[in-house]
């Protein structure tokens, strides 16, 4: 059964489905109850499932994640909402020193299947701490799984797959795509959430990206087509683990790779992908792997963020550089 909905609505529907199918699941976060979250992603859920399944928590991220860990140890499946990317840091300690390590520390005896939803990324013209992309900081910590949907179909299923997963999962939700509409097939999940997907086939170059930049990469590929270049676009979907097979297979076919994300280029996921591809497919490369990302600066003020965010032009320029080799 297929319906058209926005990404925000798809996550809402996915959460609803998760609450229905897992009686021990519950949502917790700041303002997620009557208000439905600042992005209204949890709208209507408190009314339907009650205040003890959809909990407005005290304003304390360390408290939210820490108690979610305790609830998870007790057999519950908590889904936490962090209000904005830049506000996850009071909870960073709990996520990296406790949540990520519960399974290994207990030698596999305990698990903490907590899901943490974080709206992330820029392009919404907001103020400080409302537009950041901290995914690499979490990806560096073993024990966490990190996924990011780029369309309503994935949004609907990935949140449910995250709830069903026995490991802690961070779902980075690209907030500027909350209003992106698309078809959602609610009959069955399409794929493993930890795999990458080729969202456009091509033969001359590959763009690997995820979350908010997938539509940008697709538009750049369409523009490149007019110049006679066939560009393949890979939607990573999972940042930890990364599906390197899909990436290397694509590079072996096309010979060129551009990795793009909104997070700063330095120390970002793009560097990891570049290094792996150099290890795995060096002889297939016609050009060095190029990265297009944010700069080594705090996320800039709203009035100039367009220069910070990778756009079609920056991708086309990177393609030009790649083809210049």
């Amino acid at each position: 059964m297929s319906t058209t909905m926005t990404m925000a609505k798809a996550i809402n529907a996915g959460l609803r489905a998760a609450l229905e199918s897992h009686p021990n699941s519950l949502l917790m976060g700041e303002d997620i109850g009557s208000l439905g979250g600042v992005y209204r992603v949890t709208e209507g859920l408190k009314a339907d499932f009650g205040a003890d399944r959809v909990m407005d928590t005290p304003l304390a991220e360390s408290g939210i994640i820490g108690t979610a860990i305790g609830l998870a140890l007790r057999g519950y499946l908590p889904v936490c909402e962090i209000q904005f990317d830049g506000f996850v840091f009071p909870g960073f300690n709990q996520i990296t020193t406790q949540l990520a390590k519960m399974h290994s520390r207990s030698e596999g005896n305990l698990s903490a299947p907590v899901v943490i939803r974080i709206p992330y990324g820029g392009g919404i013209g907001s103020i400080e701490h409302h537009s950041e992309s901290p995914e690499a900081l979490f990806a560096h910590t073993a024990g966490l799984r990190i996924i990011t949907p780029s369309n309503p179909q994935d949004a609907y299923w990935m949140i449910q797959q995250a709830v069903a997963c026995k490991d802690p999962v961070i779902v980075f939700e690209p907030k500027r795509r909350y209003w992106l509409k698309g078809d959602v097939d609610t009959s069955a999940p399409t794929s493993d959430p930890f795999s990458a997907q080729i969202v456009r086939e091509g033969t001359d170059a590959t763009i690997v990206t995820y979350g908010p930049l997938v539509p940008v990469a697709l538009a750049a590929a369409a523009a490149a087509e007019e110049d006679g270049r066939s560009v393949e676009v890979v939607d990573l979907r999972s940042i930890s683990p990364i599906d390197f097979d899909t990436i290397t297979d694509s590079v072996k076919k096309t010979g060129r790779l551009i990795v793009t994300h909104e997070a700063p280029t330095f120390g970002g996921i793009g560097g990891e992908i570049a290094a792996r591809v150099a290890e795995r497919a060096f002889l297939s490369l016609e050009a060095p792997v190029l990265r297009v990302g944010g700069f080594h600066m705090p996320y800039p003020v709203a009035k100039v963020e367009e220069h910070y965010l990778p756009d079609i032009d920056r991708l086309l320029e990177a393609l030009d550089r790649s083809f210049a080799y």
Binding site: S34, D52, R53, P58, S62, S126, I127, F295, M297
Partner: protein, 403 residues
Amino acid sequence: MDVGHLPASEFDSAGFEQTLMGSPEENPVPDMVQLLTIDGEVRHDPTYSSYVADLTADELRGFYRDMFLVRRFDEEATALQRQGELVMWVPMTGQEGAQIASGRALMPQDYVFPTYREHGVAYTRGLELSHLLRRFRGISHGGWDPREANFHLYTLVLAAQVPHAVGYAMGMARDRLVNPKLPEAATVAYFGDGASSEGDVHEGMVFAASYNAPVVFFCQNNHWAISVPTEVQSRVPLANRARGYGFPGIRVDGNDVLAVHAVTRWALEHARSGGGPVLIEAFTYRMSAHTTADDPTKYRLSADEEAWLDRDPLLRLEKHLRSRDLVDDAFFEDLREEGRNMAVRLRENVQAMEAPGFEDAFTDVYAEAHPLVREELNAHRAYEAGFADSDADPTAASREHTA
């Protein structure tokens, strides 16, 4: 209460009066300090009355004027946001009493650590109000030099400034050990009832107590953290928490300028003179939305807002001033005119604020040159230069990049 059941966020109007004054049976509420009744009549308090006894008629009118002007400022900023001139705005209407009265209790050498709604306090520090709007216009992450008015930059990560205030206060105390001629000084950390749940507030209070830091924690309990009512943050009046850390906590009627002023003066004197930290909980109410992106009708009843109308800090002081014949109609008319002029200037200032060049974002990332930043800046310039018809960054030539 069931396990996992949290208080409904719909405000219980029946318990309203009780909540306002605190319920002696359930909570050992420290008396809420009040010096002006809702009708503007003076009440005597053995401890605090003396702290406002010396206020002149001019100073009282000044309180009213300050509150009036910051409310006018707030309205104008809200209008500017609605017209697309600001990316967002955080209104403060309803909290003028708590802010003006506490701000006016500060000495120049004191240092304020605000959250993001302390526009009234900023005004009392003499900060140019339009500078507060730079952040909300999306052209700056700061907007002013905190050292000019001893008023720190706004902080959006809730409670993060609270330990800073404590550390700064510890520094002030050390400085005076080295140089006893320095004036006694204190810091004030402003934060909300919601933020009081963050770990940083607790850790800040622990440090403040351990080192007897001259800091006043000023919590504006405006009853709502976006959509979440205070009851979700605390079962007891927030002021009671101070006892657990070992310093005084005072609950004050936050819409009563006299009481807030008196209590803050007391607390600052206590802190400055070596008495250590104090927690003030100003019991007030946010009369409008949390920010211009918020919709309070989703979580609270308009009856609750109405119930607070006659507690309006401006109205209450007006009643008092009129009853003592300290003002006439001309006073209010002049003030309205002054407010209009201020709003016009503010609007002009805001509309004249230009976006920075993107290259500016590379300039202050580090205090000293950093090779990665230089490399990225150069790459960015080369990229921009690749566009024949590029509207080149006008600041590029004028601003020397130091990295």
